[in-house]
């Protein structure tokens, strides 16, 4: 069952040189209990996509299109409506847990705040469920953790506390923006396992944003790859990672140090991602693409379905073989 349906989302930001589209005509959907990974380099629009769902776009940022969450249109909702939704229906965790935790307040104050606000819980009832939450996210000795301040925990433990906060009001969707980027691999593995377990136990939908394809591979059901504000490829995680079809996804996966074991040199994509406000026309990747043809710079670029649920935005489709259907 579909929980989130984003269609034709365009996010416009005000820059010093005028308005620029940071996200362009993005469409995707997320089922209940499904984990979607959004991948892309910095500036590809992945965080802006998440912020537009949360109604948290920066000053003068505008979103158009449609964001349908749990059967209701949320784009353009009033401030008050967003206030009731954030933390209750949709929660978000960030790269650096210290940005979402207040350094001067105890864990208990922060963890019970939205239970008391959204669910009108009594102080003692909220404390009880805070204890359970800390146990869920595997914080040792929850009772003393409640009395502690965030600075008394390590990075991994802080991220666990941030996850507990996000889960406090039993949201239907959790958005995780680079949740493990600031953590060590050993700690990262624990957080990934925790997210997976929470999904299984609560049938929670998770949207995870990261530039690390290894993280996506272990966690997600489906993946969407963005470049310069647009989707370039999306599909089931396993299929997309083992059989990427867009030249950009191909390049990203080939650039990973683990991808091939021959020699010390990595396969790199020449050039660098375009800057906001300077996105090339047509397929934005065409100036860096080895397969580019004249038609690549002419909009619109239509989706090509390469197999069930797997599509690319590439008019050339250079890695096509057998059953290719045009959508």
């Amino acid at each position: 069952m579909t929980l989130l349906n984003v269609s034709d989302l365009t996010v416009t930001l005000a820059t010093s040189t005028g308005d620029a589209d940071a996200v362009r005509n993005l469409s995707f959907s997320l089922d209940r209990g499904e984990i979607l990974g959004i991948a892309g380099e910095s500036g590809s629009g992945k965080t802006m996509t998440a912020l537009s769902i949360m109604g948290l776009l920066p000053y003068k940022g505008k979103a158009s299109g449609s964001i349908n969450f749990d059967g209701k249109e949320v784009l353009g909702s009033s401030k008050k409506k967003y206030q009731h939704m954030r933390g209750k229906e949709i929660s978000m965790i960030f790269q650096d847990p210290m940005t979402s935790l207040h350094p001067m307040l105890t864990v208990q104050t922060q963890l019970t705040e939205h239970m008391r606000y959204h669910d009108k819980m009594s102080k003692s009832a909220a404390r009880e469920s805070a204890l359970k939450l800390l146990d869920t996210v595997k914080i040792p000795d929850p009772a003393s953790a409640l009395r502690a301040h965030p600075s008394q925990f390590s990075g991994g433990m802080r991220q666990r506390i941030a996850i507990a906060m996000a889960l406090a009001c039993e949201p239907k969707l959790l958005i995780a923006d680079e949740p493990t980027t600031a953590l060590d691999v050993t700690v990262q593995a624990g957080i990934l396992r925790l997210l997976h377990q929470i999904r299984d136990e609560r049938n929670l939908s998770i949207m995870i944003i990261t530039h690390d394809l290894g993280v996506l591979s272990s966690l997600t059901d489906k993946i969407l790859i963005m470049y310069a504000g647009s989707e370039v490829e999306s599909g089931p995680a396993r299929e997309l990672l083992s059989n990427p079809r867009h030249p950009y996804s191909q390049g990203l996966i080939a650039a990973l140090p683990g991808a091939s074991r021959e020699g010390k040199f990595l396969t790199s994509i020449d050039g660098m991602p375009p800057e906001l406000g300077n996105f090339p026309s047509g397929c934005a990747f065409h100036p860096r693409c080895g397969f580019a043809e004249d038609r690549c710079s002419v909009p619109p670029i239509d989706a090509t379905v390469v197999s069930k649920g797997h599509r690319i935005y590439c008019p050339v489709n250079p890695f096509a073989h057998d059953r290719v259907e045009q959508s």
Binding site: D184, Q188, A189, R193, L219, R238, K264, L266, M272
Partner: protein, 329 residues
């Protein structure tokens, strides 16, 4: 032997509220010309402190660093001795390591002029260096903010080369960069090591990149090296349980959706390191003696070095797969 750098029993201490914290607690390392030594470990294990102590930004409490035959001294406000100009460092954050108010040309030329080159020749040499790291010639007249992260890291590398570096200490040089710049900068570094026969210590928390580019790897835990060996030895048959746990925690983008293994617990506080083997509280294979006796750093028959009670000096490494795990209490 082409040994260019050696670190002998190095100890680096910080002062924390009057107590001494040993961030680096007795480290031995060797580096040859044209070799890449990967230095890996979790954050807080002391790998950056070790890097800074090698170039002399931090002073050693005990032990010494020998660069090209002479001991490295802590940097002072005075001029750096000529001999150590070739020992250079590249930092993680290319936004913090370049002066935002000076043009790129001036910053690269500084390194050349301080090294004794005449200003008239320095300009041409700076242009050459920028070309070596793959930047356009007009980069000289621009400011750092006009470049992307990957390009800034190239400028930082050009600056290290301006001092004709023979050893580069690269502290997380690609961690702050995007995927496509990461591959480009990593290739540049490997290329320089090969062409100029530079020795490089590549400090990183990203084991997959270290595996790819290094010749040898040193694994650090809480201020000590727990294992060193060739990349093949470390990856194919890790001899220290910590090395094994680090490798098992790497997620693979192979589409097989395998969940990486986590290593429970955090790196202990270096102010009060655990008794015996520093890894024993987190070690799945810990034995009673591990909590009491600190294992010596011994050389095994296959020439790798490891500090673990399971491994005996001069013998073949014992495969960790064969040892039953201690059930978590």
């Amino acid at each position: 032997m082409n040994e260019i750098l050696s670190v002998d029993d190095l100890v680096v201490e910080y002062n924390r509220d009057g107590t001494k914290v040993r961030a680096v607690a007795g480290v031995d390392l060797r580096l040859e010309k044209g070799e890449i030594l990967g230095l890996v470990g979790e954050s807080g294990c002391g790998k950056s402190t070790l890097g800074k102590a090698i170039v002399g930004i931090l002073g050693a409490a005990e032990g010494e660093v020998i660069f090209d035959g002479l001991p490295v001294k802590k940097l002072t406000r005075g001029k750096r001795p000529e001999h150590f100009r070739n020992l250079q460092m590249v930092f993680q954050d290319p936004y913090g390591s370049l002066n935002p108010r000076r043009k790129i040309g001036a910053q690269v030329i500084d390194g050349l002029v301080i090294g004794g080159m005449h200003r008239s020749k320095a300009l041409a040499r700076a242009q050459e260096l920028l070309a070596t790291v793959g930047l356009p010639a007009d980069a000289l007249g621009r400011f750092p903010h006009q470049f992307s992260g990957g390009q800034r890291q190239r400028i930082a590398i050009a600056r290290a080369l301006a001092a004709s570096a023979s050893v580069l200490i690269a502290d997380e040089p690609i961690s702050a960069l995007d995927t496509s710049s990461q591959a480009q900068v990593s290739n540049l570094l490997v290329n320089l090591v090969h062409e100029l026969s530079v020795g490089m210590v590549f400090i990183s928390h990203d084991l997959s990149i270290v595996r790819r580019i290094s010749d040898r790897v040193a694994v650090m835990y809480l201020g000590k090296i727990v294992e060193t060996g060739t990349v093949e030895q470390i990856w194919e048959s890790p001899a220290h349980p910590y090395t094994k746990a680090l490798i098992a925690a790497i997620p693979h983008a192979d589409g097989r959706s395998s969940m990486p293994a986590d290593l429970p617990g955090d790196v202990p506080n270096p102010m009060s390191p655990p008794s015996g083997c520093r890894f024993h509280p987190r070690c799945p294979l810990a034995m009673p003696e591990c909590a009491v006796v600190e294992p010596e750093f011994v050389t095994l028959a296959d020439n790798r070095q490891v500090a673990c009670h399971l491994q005996k000096a001069g013998q073949e490494p014992v495969s960790l797969e064969l040892i039953p795990r201690v059930p978590a209490s």
